[in-house]
């Protein structure tokens, strides 16, 4: 029995060591993404900055679908590798931005509080109304989106969550023709 347990632990340790970092987007989509993108600076200087391909994550604040266009207001969160890959709540208000996606998204994926990650290009700000207040938000035209249906909780809270076991629903969507 001890041998079995030792073997199991050893296997897990080796598997952990060899495990590749988990990514949600195809590698082709991730090409040319600016790895050193400064979100804070971009928010302050969206008018003057040139369009860049970026990867941003956050928490859905509000969303609106109109025809084939989905507009998602997102509170930015840092993307971390652990304890679970994805946007992680750091307890700070890092600022909001808006994702515009050309395509259909299922309603459960757009629930406020869900975690989201987008790959797309930055665009000049637009005025969006949130809670009856019109504000100017910097825009990301999304090429691909990934949703974690956490409903406000952190990704790392799943699946051993609440009074039982709850698998975390995820979804990845991409536009058929990338937005320029």
């Amino acid at each position: 029995m001890r041998a079995i347990i030792s073997l199991l632990i050893l296997s897990l340790a080796m598997a952990s060591a060899c495990a590749h970092p988990y990514k949600v987007f195809p590698s082709k989509v991730m090409e040319d993404v600016d790895r050193n993108f400064d979100f804070s600076r971009w928010r302050m200087m969206t008018d003057g900055s040139e369009s860049k391909k970026v990867q941003l994550g956050g928490r859905i604040v509000q969303s609106h679908a109109s025809g084939d266009t989905v507009t998602i207001v997102v509170g930015q969160l840092p993307i971390v590798d652990y304890p679970a890959y994805g946007p992680k709540d750091n307890g700070k208000n890092n600022g909001d931005f808006v994702i515009i996606y050309q395509g259909q998204i299922e309603r459960p994926d757009l629930q406020p509080g869900n975690r989201i990650m987008a790959v797309g290009t930055t665009h000049p700000p637009k005025v969006i109304t949130v809670n009856d207040l019109s504000r100017s938000f910097p825009i990301v035209m999304a090429q691909c989106l990934h949703f974690w249906n956490t409903q406000g909780r952190d990704i790392a809270d799943f699946p051993f969550y609440e009074a039982g076991y709850v698998t975390l629903r995820q979804e990845t969507v991409c536009v058929s023709t990338p937005t320029p």
Partner: protein, 519 residues
């Protein structure tokens, strides 16, 4: 009173303003002259009154005494035109100052309370609570019942509050679940003689999570210790507030409830093939986002066992700790998987709080799966298959038993038995159309209490219909469920007769349950 204070305050401010104006006039005649022609009413008194009140300008709304665009306010204009006197002008400005100061004070108070409330644990995810399940149940079972009992019942099935929080990244969760429906006053299982009510617990779950090294997660995600739903299959680990059918599956409990008692075939009495909860410590993680594992050790004596641990001597109850378990779960996508579970150890009949456990070797082997296709999101099918051995002289809780001897030490007197059970459940949730929020469910299950015996099989078909008032699992789920159960019990094995009329597991039943869940 306020009028008196207001007048005194106005006079005081006026005096101060006049004094300072005089000083300025004496020291800077040219500047004062200029002010007197262009902005005389607005400059000096404003500065003075602001200085006396020392109002912080960065907080609160824009000050009422700020000079409006264009450089002149209404009262200034009125003063210039001679419509109001200097005294009236001063009174107006003082009132404005007073209002501004009052607003600022209120905002300061709000800011102070905001600062206080922000550090409250309940607002920092350190302490949370929610309604795990409040279930009102109507049930009807066709079985004949003894005098004083009824085939129909109204009851609270679950009244569970859950509490949880995150203390830090290294202590990512603490958790407690209280069952207020019952404190579960449970009889002990003595070595001989009559049993007596021994233990009662409010809690059903209480555990601590530790994430020792952040960078190891999720490969080695958490170490969990306490009592919780065991990672044995799907139903066992699913909270009562999220289950798709009303009854528990036979793998969690079958027999008893007025039916035939335990017997020498090991086929009667209550049997809890897989206990839902236990005391344990285990390690959990997920590798490459595909392979989830759990490895741990448990008491193997149900949640009541905590009540018989002596706080002074430290001597624990029976069966502690005597079983290790592992589960490997391989994900096809985010929600579909197949799992393999193994439990190995020993069990005891004396002191047991789990029905149907004997003295000796104990094992369970299980395989479970769940399939939820992306192209048909409302459809889900899942199932489990379990097989395992219980030691000899298995007993029901509260019936005296002392060891593996078959005729002389209580218990059922049955030799060790291999048991087997399986089920498959399919459901479809309508997400649009006239049947939106309705969910149809079908489940079939079998339980064989002794695989070496014939005519002892329990079978059950369950058809159900659920309507969701709110369906945002895992946080919210309010629903009404109807289940009809077609039950069949083929017997108790050779040489033992079964009175099916009084066996609730041989008679059909239906249930109607209303549930609230919010957290």
């Amino acid at each position: 009173m306020r009028g008196l204070y207001g007048t005194a305050y106005t006079a005081q401010v006026t005096l101060v303003a006049l004094c300072i104006a005089a000083i300025v006039l004496v020291q800077q005649p040219s500047l004062a002259q200029e002010a007197s022609t262009s902005r005389k009413p607005s400059s000096d008194p404003i500065v003075t009154t602001q200085q006396t009140d020392s109002v912080p300008e960065k907080q609160g709304p824009s000050s009422a005494i700020q000079t409006p665009p264009g450089g002149i306010s209404l009262e200034d204009l009125l003063l210039q035109k001679g419509t109001i006197t200097k005294d009236e002008w001063l009174r107006i400005r003082t009132e404005q100052e007073y209002r501004t100061a009052d607003q600022t004070r209120r905002l300061d108070n709000l800011e102070e309370w905001k600062n206080r409330t922000e550090v409250l644990p309940i607002l920092r995810d350190k302490v949370n609570f929610g309604l795990n399940a409040l279930q009102f149940l109507y049930g009807h079972v066709n079985a004949n019942v003894p005098e004083g009992r009824s085939q129909d019942s109204l009851s609270i099935r679950r009244a569970e509050m859950v509490f949880w929080g995150k203390l830090s990244d290294y202590l990512p969760r603490w958790h407690m679940l209280m069952e207020f429906q019952s404190t579960s006053l449970t009889n002990n299982t003595p070595l001989s003689g009559a049993s007596s009510p021994t233990v009662a617990t409010f809690f059903r779950e209480a555990y601590i999570d530790v994430r020792p090294v952040q960078a190891w997660a999720p490969n080695l995600n958490i170490i969990r210790m306490g009592i919780f739903r065991m990672p044995f299959g799907i139903f066992t680990e699913t909270s009562g507030g999220l289950r798709d059918i009303i009854s528990s599956p036979y793998l969690n409990g079958v027999g008893g409830g007025g039916g035939p008692g335990q017997n020498r075939n090991g086929t009667g009495g209550a049997i809890e093939f897989i206990q839902e909860r236990d005391y344990f410590v285990d390690v959990r993680g997920k590798i490459m986002n595909r392979l989830e594992y759990v490895v741990g050790i448990m008491n193997n004596n149900n949640f009541q066992a905590n009540g018989i641990v002596s706080n002074t001597s430290g001597i624990g109850g029976a069966n502690q700790p005597k079983a290790i378990y592992t589960r490997l779960r391989l994900f096809g996508d985010d929600v579909s998987f197949i799992s393999f579970t193994m439990i190995q150890g020993t069990s005891n009949n004396a002191g047991t709080f789990i029905n149907g456990r004997g003295k000796g070797h104990f094992d369970r082997y299980g395989i479970d799966f769940r399939y939820n296709p992306k192209f048909l999101p409302g459809f889900m099918v899942y199932g489990e298959y379990w097989q395992g051995h219980d030691g000899s002289n298995a007993t029901t809780v509260g019936t005296a038993a002392n060891g593996a001897c078959l005729d002389t030490c209580g218990g059922s007197g049955a030799p060790g038995a291999q048991r087997r059970t399986w089920y498959v459940l399919a459901k479809y949730l309508f997400t649009e159309g006239p049947l939106e929020n309705f969910e149809s469910v079908y489940m079939y299950e079998e339980f064989d209490p002794n695989t070496r015996m014939s005519n002892d099989l329990y079978t059950r078909h369950i058809v159900g219909l659920t309507y969701y008032f709110e369906n945002f699992p895992p946080k919210m789920q309010s629903k009404i469920q109807f289940n009809y159960e077609f039950r069949h019990h083929s017997g108790l094995g050779p040489d033992i007769a079964l009175n099916a009329a009084t066996d609730p597991f041989a008679q059909n039943a239906f249930f109607l349950q209303w549930q609230l869940r919010y957290m």
